[in-house]
């Protein structure tokens, strides 16, 4: 039990044991909750221990056995990229499992044991997926992951959850069909399902581009990139909050992982237009994702849309890296991929934290409508503090981790702008502007999210009577907040590790990215940045005004808080209360109105809804045709003859006598 792969196996077995235990303890739900939580926590810790040596050394571990099927080897490969994914998954799973031990009590009596089962199965399949090195097993685990998470989405069983789950099911499977097609093309050329044989192919030309496009769209649907994102803001918020955290924090990254795996690892990123395509889709996802997040009033949906944004930012880094590989610019490739990997790690941390924070709010107030919240900072101070750190990190504010990864993304795009190819010179700075726009919109979005939830006065009775979340939930959130600060301030130690992962994919020497505590994008002349210095200054400089205020205290009285805020006589006016629809969303909604309209016209959900509606309309018009033309004709004919026959029944006694006589005469004539 000491090689990384064995430890990883132990971690997966722990998750499976948790799933099974949860299933067996269905009658004793509190035990089932504890069982799945503790095994998840242990599995996560073991996963971290398994992945760290591989990450730090940059080596690759392989294991191959025949497995039960003749056509596919069971191959596991723990390379630095897979180790990074295992690390990210394990960290978040450990924290979320700790959180779940308290949070899932909310679901006691409503099948909490089933939640533990699907949750552990979901995690186990993700971990197995990222290390599997054979297309067949890769797809099996991919399906397992989609199905287990589908059951988590529909867990609440209300109408919105079921319909969101159905949309998720459809899009996830449409995606996996495309991925299967991509793998099938590779298989038909190599004759073997092992990824190693795909790597040895060195496919080029239109066939390689076809494979890449299939995989890009297929995995992109999983990653939630625009325009295949419509399921994400519906499915992620429907799941229980710790599952939302895992889905937004790591499951979408499996999509990004797939794009990197096929585009760079298997196909070698041979054409530079692939990278430009990924970059463009990433930039559009980033801007549109955050713009739509801004318009939301449901806190969890806002967070889910912001996942679309962050996947976009990661894809921008991946795109820059792919361009660098294709154009033989090793530094650009290294910095672009470094930025992508760093942001992948960071996003898992802060989006996980924010979803756990939203879950804590939901746990205490039973609402995620921001118009019903407010004033929670005084009632849930620890949750508020952790959420604020997450919000600052996701807005890329220095000195937290989001800033470092976005800084590297900017630097990658900047060095792209300094190349000689006109397309790259154009694409780099355009990407930087879109990233800047994204950053400003994200700030607006998270000022709104924090401000409406935690600041001001409570806007409902639930919010007014809220109290701090249970201890395990608070500890989980604080752990993630601490991790965010570490990943930010310790950037000079994290970045070289990410550079090693990038180097393992570009097959070149590791790019120098840090000396001492100073970061630089390969070339110190282009830029350099010391996060510890910025941190120290940002913490020390506010001391100056604090000393100034304290020194000039004189006869000044202490701070006094009390009474209502000044409202200029509009205190009872509902329109003046800060609301989700009004804050920043209203002015920006008007200024960016065309981009909001795009959502409705381009959204595959609404397009398919319109198509379905057309079909329904057509069939509702076709279906009565038979009735109208044939059945109705017969009915009318019968009625018409009935009316004619009515004339026989005259009501006169003498006429009836005449009928009797006439009938007798006719019968006599017939008889004779």
């Amino acid at each position: 039990m000491n090689t990384p792969l064995e430890l990883l196996l132990l971690s997966v077995l722990l998750y499976l044991a948790g799933a099974l235990g949860s299933l067996l303890l269905a009658r004793r739900e509190s035990l089932a909750i504890l069982c799945s939580g503790v095994t998840g926590l242990l599995g996560g810790v073991v996963g971290v221990v398994a992945s760290l040596p591989v990450l730090l050394s940059g080596t690759t571990q392989r294991f191959v056995t025949d497995g039960p099927f003749a056509f596919a080897h069971f191959a596991a490969r723990l390379d630095p990229l897979a180790a990074l994914m295992v690390f990210v998954i394990s960290v978040l799973v450990a924290v979320c499992s700790l959180y779940a031990t308290a949070y899932v009590r909310e679901y006691a009596g409503r099948g909490a044991w089933a939640m533990g089962f699907f949750m552990n199965l979901f995690v186990a399949s993700m971990v197995a997926l990222v290390v599997s090195d054979n297309a067949f097993y890769f797809l099996i685990f991919f399906e397992m992951m989609s199905l287990a998470s589908y059951f988590l989405v529909i867990f609440d069983q209300h109408e919105e959850a079921v319909s969101a789950g159905f949309l998720y099911f459809l899009i996830a499977h449409a995606g996996s069909v495309l991925i299967m097609a991509a793998f099938f093309i590779l298989y038909s050329h190599s004759g073997n399902l092992d990824f190693d044989s795909f790597r040895a192919l060195h496919l080029t030309g239109p066939m390689a581009s076809l494979v890449f496009l299939l995989a890009f769209v297929g995995f992109g649907a999983k990653a939630g990139m625009v325009p295949l994102h419509s399921w994400l803001p519906r499915a992620h918020p429907a799941a229980p909050s710790h599952a939302s955290a895992l889905m937004s924090g790591v499951m979408v990254k499996v999509g990004v992982f797939g794009i990197i795996k096929v585009g760079i690892d298997l196909l070698g990123a041979t054409a530079s237009w692939w990278g430009l395509l990924v970059l463009a889709v990433g930039a559009i996802s980033a801007v549109l994702g955050v713009l739509y997040a801004l318009a939301e009033k449901d806190l969890k949906r806002l967070l889910a849309y912001s996942t679309v944004e962050n996947v976009g930012i990661i894809l921008m880094g991946v795109g820059a890296g792919m361009v660098g590989i294709a154009a033989h610019l090793p530094l650009l490739a290294a910095i672009g991929l470094l930025a992508a990997f760093y942001h992948l790690l960071n996003h898992a941390a802060f989006k996980g934290l924010l979803f756990l924070g939203a879950g804590a709010i939901l746990y205490r107030t039973h609402t995620k409508d921001m118009d019903q919240l407010g004033g929670l900072a005084t009632r849930m101070p620890w949750t508020a503090g952790a959420f604020l750190i997450g919000a600052m990190a996701i807005c890329a504010l220095p000195p937290l981790n989001g800033f470092v990864s976005e800084w590297f993304t900017y630097q990658a795009l900047f060095s792209m702008g300094g190349t000689s190819d006109i397309f790259l010179r154009l694409a780099g700075p355009v990407g930087m502007v879109m990233l800047a726009l994204t950053g400003a919109l994200a700030a607006a979005c998270f000022v709104k999210a924090y401000g409406l939830s935690f600041s001001g006065l409570p806007r409902s009775a639930h919010a007014e009577h809220a109290q701090e979340a249970p201890l395990p939930m608070v500890i989980a959130m604080l752990l993630l907040a601490g991790f965010i600060v570490l990943c930010g301030v310790g950037a000079a130690w994290v970045s070289p590790v990410m550079a090693t992962v990038a180097a393992s994919l570009t097959q070149s020497a590791t790019a120098p990215v840090a000396i001492g505590h100073t970061l630089f994008p390969g070339d110190p002349g282009q830029a350099h940045l010391s996060i510890p210095l910025v941190t120290v200054l940002l913490l020390a400089l506010p001391m100056l005004p604090i000393l100034l205020v304290a020194g000039l205290r004189g006869a000044r009285l202490g701070r006094r808080h009390g009474g209502d805020a000044w409202a200029c006589g509009y205190a009872q006016e509902q329109a003046m209360v800060p609301s989700a629809a009004g804050f920043a969303a209203q002015p920006l909604g008007q200024m960016f109105a065309p981009l909001y309209r795009v959502r409705d016209t381009l959204d595959p959900g609404s397009v398919s809804r319109r198509a379905v509606q057309w079909c329904i309309d057509a069939t509702t018009r076709l279906e009565p045709l038979w009735d109208a033309k044939v059945v109705q004709g017969v009915v009318e004919g019968v009625q018409w003859s009935g009316r004619k026959i009515q004339h026989l029944q005259h009501g006169d006694f003498r006429v009836y006598c005449l009928y009797v006589v006439a009938t007798l005469v006719v019968l006599l004539l017939v008889a004779v």
């Binding site: 004033g375 900072a377 604020l388 890329a396 504010l397 220095p398 800033f403 976005e406 800084w407 900047f414 702008g417 700075p429 930087m432 879109m434 800047a436 726009l437 950053g439 400003a440 700030a443 607006a444 998270f446 000022v447 709104k448 924090y450 401000g451 600041s455 001001g456 006065l457 100073t518 282009q526 830029a527 350099h528 010391s530 210095l533 910025v534 200054l537 020390a540 400089l541 506010p542 001391m543 005004p545 100034l548 205020v549 006869a555 000044r556 009285l557 701070r559 808080h561 009474g563 209502d564 805020a565 000044w566 200029c568 209360v577 800060p578 009004g582 804050f583 209203q586 002015p587 920006l588």
Partner: protein, 312 residues
């Protein structure tokens, strides 16, 4: 870590900029008064205001939370960081490891984040509207700011403000048209960020950009006013330091030092007088139509980028 001498220089320039901040905002007020045909309060009024406020008690609504209390200090701290890292007297930045244009943009974002959040955190509906406008302006301004600086950075091959400044001061303008247009676009964003008409009129209207100030009082208001004043100086010096570093030190000789010490207030004064003149010849625009005006600045920056691409 920067050397001890450079750190002293950094602290010195931050202190100098902080000390002259109320003077420069006082000059703005005086220009406005004169253009309104008023006598005005005199250029030292802002010092008197701040000293008076520092003696007063802090009073805040019951709903105000810890973000509200922390914001004045965070804002002033962030601006002091920028003041330390800017090239002020010298051509290179004394704290090069913090003087990156992206770092600058995001430290401004940090200040904006807290300033806007303090508006919501006060619980006042007017401050909330001010916060909404503050973040909206950020969305309209930041892309232009980044693009105009990136054009210069691309010309000079570095995103470090000190390197950019030194390259421009060194006289080798490689793409003069692009740099001039980028300077125009950047000056436009600086003008907006300084909180000027037609985008803002902080002295009169509570709900505008300085709206989050509504609930502040006493010492907190004094610190916040200092911070906002310093923000204006830092923005002006950002423009001067990157695009017009003429007169800044290259070598530490007595003549050069005297020139730099003289050039700094003269250039800042010129910027503030110019901004004051433009501001007071404007009418206030409708807030919802602001985006139509900011397109001019963005268009200017795009043009600068096109000129850079074509090598003009």
């Amino acid at each position: 870590m920067p050397s001890f001498d450079l750190l002293c220089l950094a602290v010195l320039q931050a202190v100098v900029l902080l000390a002259i901040a109320p003077l420069m905002t006082g000059v703005s007020r005086m220009i406005r008064a004169r253009m309104h045909s008023r006598r005005g309060p005199g250029v030292l009024q802002d010092y008197r205001d701040i000293v008076k406020l520092l003696k007063r008690q802090d009073v805040a609504p019951a709903s105000a939370g810890f973000v509200f209390q922390a914001t004045p200090y965070v804002l002033l701290g962030a601006m002091l960081l920028l003041a330390m890292a800017l090239p002020v007297f010298t051509r290179h930045s004394p704290v090069g490891a913090a003087a990156d244009l992206i770092t600058f943009a995001y430290v401004f974002a940090l200040a904006r984040f807290f300033f806007a959040l303090s508006g919501l955190d006060s619980g006042s509906s007017f401050a909330g509207i001010g916060a909404s406008r503050e973040v909206t302006m950020g969305v309209l301004v930041e892309p232009t700011m980044i693009l105009s600086l990136v054009v210069v950075a691309l010309v000079e091959g570095s995103t470090n403000l000190g390197s950019m400044s030194a390259s421009i001061a060194g006289g080798y303008l490689q793409a003069p048209m692009a740099i001039l247009l980028a300077m125009a676009a950047f000056a436009f964003t600086v003008f907006i960020e300084m909180g000027k008409l037609p985008f803002d009129m902080a002295e009169a209207e509570q709900e505008l950009q300085e709206g989050p100030l509504t609930e502040y009082s006493g010492a907190s208001l004094a610190v916040l006013k200092l911070g906002l004043g310093l923000k204006k100086i830092v923005l002006a010096q950002f423009l001067l330091g990157v695009f017009l570093p003429f007169g800044n030190l290259d070598t530490f000789t007595a003549g050069d030092i005297a020139l730099a010490v003289f050039a700094l207030p003269a250039k800042l004064l010129a910027i503030f007088v110019l901004a004051g003149l433009i501001e007071n010849s404007m009418a206030r625009g409708r807030y919802m139509l602001t985006s139509r005006v900011t397109w001019i600045g963005f268009g200017c920056a795009v043009l600068a980028f096109v000129f850079y691409l074509t090598g003009l």
